[in-house]
Symmetry: C2
Subunit: 65 residues, 2 copies
Amino acid sequence: MMCEANVYMVDREGNEKLIIESVDKVISEGKNITLENIFSQKMTVKARIKEMALVAHRIILEDND
Amino acid sequence: MMCEANVYMVDREGNEKLIIESVDKVISEGKNITLENIFSQKMTVKARIKEMALVAHRIILEDND
């Protein structure tokens, strides 16, 4: 494993759901975040970054309503 | 090096300035971002995450005015 991270969406109750693994690039534009992993899979979600723990390879997103 | 990242602030002209190295944890709250590195140094900045390239150990912040 290199330094990519797994990305989770957390809901209002604090439950985390893995949405994409092994993400390298993250681009935030307006209310959207585009995630691209090391396999060149891309995903755009309407969310904001809540927190990250890079050594643990974790990025937590939350709804931005 | 583990999977921490160096954090840069970019200005409107696109110039990047390194503000803190070896960041592990990033917490976003309102208009502020708190950064904590592997040496337990903490910094809070008024900014938003613009983009990240984790394999390259880079996080780019921008002013959120």
